[in-house]
Amino acid sequence: MADSLQGPAAAPAAVELRGLTKRFRHVVANAGVDLRVEPGTIHGVIGENGAGKSTAMKMLYGLYAPDEGQILVDGKVCSWRTPQDAIRAGIGMVHQHFMLAGPYTALDNILLGAEPSPSWAGFLPRSLRPVDRSAARARLQKLSEQYGLPVDLDAPIERLPVGIQQRIEILKLLYREARVLILDEPTAVLTPQEVIALFENLRKLKAEGKTIIIITHKLKEVMSFTEKVTVFRAGRVTGEVETAKTSPQELANLMVGRKVVLSVEVPPQPPLGPPVLELDSVALDRRHGKLDGVSLQVRAGEVVGIAGVEGNGQSELMQAILHPRDPGCRSSGKVRVLGQDVTANTTAEIKDLGVGLVPEDRHQEGLLLERPMTENFLLGLQRSPRFASGGFIRQDELEQACRNAIREYDVRPAAIDLELGRFSGGNQQKVVIAREFERKPRFLIAAQPTRGVDVGAIEFIHQRILRARTEGAGVLLVSSELDEVLALSDRILVFYDGRVAGEFKRGECTEREIGLLMGGGS
């Protein structure tokens, strides 16, 4: 490398990765990654789940040490042992899963690791100097005004909505005077309104001279907010393009390595069968979250989509269907599943009727991240005669089923003994879906089925859901992605404030009409 320390005539890149390679036990996560980010720009990084985007950024942030390759910041070769070194060089990162401790205040979460202390305390070792919270607070107030990021610094994190938590993460970087901000899948957890607010903030940051690297899988966002895009596939960079000169289709193809179908191909609807879900004036009266006399029906052979801004009763609806016995989930009203009154049944009994469930938060409700794939696959099936006999698990049978699922659902890496937390989000979701389809459900509940999942996997999951419908199952789809609801549903119910605010048939409505109802208009 002749030009190792200085680029040619042009200003040096804010950040440059050269031939970065990182191996984990089972996988090569990055194989010779090259990336160049110009100062003062918003740079997109896209790629399928498991493509190695997070790994590359974690190396840039000093969390992982590269096995090979170089990291350059402002044209200078850097090597760091901990994130502290990277932070000092002006690099900051907002992680895909927020790095905030729930019980502690926003202020403490922000100043962690960069605690200011009063000047008189200089004689003490750093770790024992009193924390000067008022100095930190003053600085943060200035920063949040400058960048338009208001937060309540004294609130415990767990009481704040996700959008605000993200704001706190961004403030954390600004507080450390980061010049390069890396955001890993920042929009995966946000509502459409929050996404818009986020990008407004990012534009403001850019105007103040910050460089922003944003990892995402949403092509729409890449197209409208970035200047350049780097595409990852299977641990390599497959393209670095200027946003203005590319198209969503080209990016999708680079990501997946083949032509992908961006629009969903909906097969003809099978004849409608008997109802698989009937709700009659189901109500829930609680301080947070409520249901206000919801009546609806899902019949075999149709997909019913629930649209709405998150927090308008969708989660409560799911809970009422799955835990009708629990007065904390349903105060009144009837629930019938597959023709049977289930108001007195347990969740296990309900699922055994033939219900498949893709839960809205797979980490909390669907998976054990510290356990291997095999055990996760067994969850809820542990009593089925196929996998259990005489009180023992039939290990061979289970492993065989997992291998089949890996093949059929294209789960990567193909390691049935690897703990599930090591899989990427999309691959975790594929494990959930494989498991739930193992039950051959006649009623499928799919909540946020593609949250935190990339294009290739989204296409796959959508096809699966539609295939269940073709095979005669009834599907209840709950999603905060309006595009998804519009593409898959035969009927759409709009939720607002715990009730059904409107109903449409496929093709009988516009995005605008639904958007109005979602916002509480009529």
Binding site: F24, K58, Y61, G62, L63, Y64, T82, P83, Q84, D85, I87, M93, H95, H97, M99, L100, A101, G102, P103, Y104, D108, N109, L112, G113, A114, E115, S117, R126, S127, L128, R129, P130, V131
Partner: protein, 300 residues
């Protein structure tokens, strides 16, 4: 004031003083447990650390006639055992319950062995003269330490790091602080404090080390920690509750409660343990442990 009233007052004051004294080892060990568990490391080895602390304090006090050196030895012995524990659970990632149990067994085995080697067959150290024993020093220290630990957790960077290490170690790590270093500090501190608690047991509350003299106090300290929701002041109050039961128990030994015979002493002596069980079973309510308690941290 009549004689009966004066007697009642005297009894109460005696009971209070006695409560403070017998709570001392509990408070110290519980603070040790707090340092370790808030940083994310379960510590059922408090019992063993107390035991070696008690032993080392008794031996050194007996041979140097200095209780201060004895206390230092107790803390050092506790710290040494804590280093071994840290090696197992932080470095080698063994299961914390299993390793903790092993440490307790090790301590229970070492103590009589050392006694035998040093003093012949007794399993007990020789008695220490009253002039070389503490009267109230460790008690004052214990309660000052409660406030010190509370202030440390709240007001210093290292206190903040300990709390994050137990609650969200990834957040700490991404903030550039090494989680396992913080945990090492927590574990070693737990050894120092439990060792001090053990020293209080052998050279303040009694005049020698005797076999199994901790008698489950390490576990009681853990119970107090849970009852106190892993916070210093409530934890100390819980220790006082257990100490109070212990003080009453001592008071009731040999007293005729009903009929003509005193209640057998063995029944009286279980009182603190019954209180512990009742507290843990009934009163704890929604205690929320540090989120990452018991999980080893791996940087990937």
């Amino acid at each position: 004031m009549n004689a009966a009233e004066t007697g009642a007052w005297a009894l109460l004051i005696q009971l209070a003083a006695s409560t403070l004294r017998v709570s001392t080892p509990l408070v110290l060990a519980a603070l040790g447990g707090l340092a370790s568990e808030r940083s994310g490391v379960i510590n059922i080895a408090l019992e063993g650390m107390m035991l070696v602390g008690a032993l080392a304090a008794a031996i050194v006090t007996h041979s140097t006639a200095s209780p201060w050196l004895g206390v230092g030895a107790g803390m050092a012995a506790g710290a040494l055992l804590a280093l071994l524990y840290g090696l197992c659970v932080i470095r080698l990632r063994s299961d914390q319950i299993v390793a903790g149990t092993a440490i307790n067994l090790l301590a229970a085995g070492i103590a009589p062995f050392v006694c035998k080697v040093l003093y012949g067959a007794t399993g007990q150290t020789p008695s220490i003269g009253i002039e070389n024993r503490f009267q109230s020093g460790p008690t004052w220290m214990a309660f000052a330490l409660v406030l010190a630990v509370a202030a440390w957790l709240r007001w210093t960077p290292s206190g903040l790091w300990v709390r994050f290490a137990g609650e969200h170690p990834e957040a700490l790590s991404t903030a550039g602080i090494r989680v396992n270093r913080v945990r090492w500090a927590g574990v070693v501190l737990s050894g120092v404090l439990s060792g001090l608690g053990g020293a209080a047991l052998s050279i303040q509350l009694s005049s020698a080390f005797s076999r199994n003299m901790t008698a489950g106090r390490g576990f009681m300290a853990l119970a107090a920690l849970i009852f106190g929701k892993w916070r210093p002041v409530p934890t100390a109050l819980a220790c006082l509750l257990f100490g109070f039961a212990d003080a009453i128990q001592i008071r009731l030994q040999g007293v005729v409660l009903w009929g003509s015979e005193p209640v057998p002493v063995q029944f009286i002596q279980i009182l603190p343990y019954v209180v512990t069980v009742l507290v843990l079973a009934g009163l704890v309510g929604q205690a929320r442990a540090p989120r990452a308690l018991g999980q080893f941290f791996d940087r990937g």
